[in-house]
Symmetry: C2
Subunit: 94 residues, 2 copies
Amino acid sequence: MLKDLDPLLHSQLRLGVMSLLLGVDSAEFTWLKEKTNSTAGNLSVQLDKLSEAGYIEVVKSFSGKKPLTTCKITKKGIKAFEDYVNNLKGYINN
Amino acid sequence: MLKDLDPLLHSQLRLGVMSLLLGVDSAEFTWLKEKTNSTAGNLSVQLDKLSEAGYIEVVKSFSGKKPLTTCKITKKGIKAFEDYVNNLKGYINN
DNA sequence: AATTTTGGTTTATATTATAAACTACTTTAT
DNA sequence: ATAAAGTAGTTTATAATATAAACCAAAATT
């Protein structure tokens, strides 16, 4: 039967972020912004949501004197992503 | 690169409807309601949206004296679904 | 020293999803 | 015959979500 899709992941931008984070050790805000083609505001909000869900870890530091936001997917995030993909397959495979 | 996902299909209920319709010649409202586990109101609204986009065809008739709503996916709908799935793969494969 | 750029956050608005309330008719029970 | 319950939906109000506009602080550029 059709399983429910995690609403936190069923969002183009958040799914894009998670997909990108799966492929790297960690990623900077500006890199994610470029890769996802999003606005800074939108990305900021969505990163917060993923972070509050424990799907990613966000570290705010400085690169010299400029703020630097770095994101990393968590174990919980990887699991959620895998579950999401598995459930999604019920919708798209056949 | 990550392609945009058709917002009309990127919705659990509408995607579920389309997925179900792909597997049958046509389907009744009540069958879709059961299979998708949705409320009648929500389903009604989402079927309208799919219909207005030309992704499905909705025929309202009678079964004896009871109203009968029948849905069928269109060529345009099949194409949109296929495109959606292909774009989605960019997010979930790797 | 004014302007632009960088790297964001906050907040307001537009869009979307969902459920509650309603309509219209039918069937069943009294 | 009529009241109550069921069927098959639609309309509308509300809750949730996504998105962008406005903003902030510091740094770099002209």
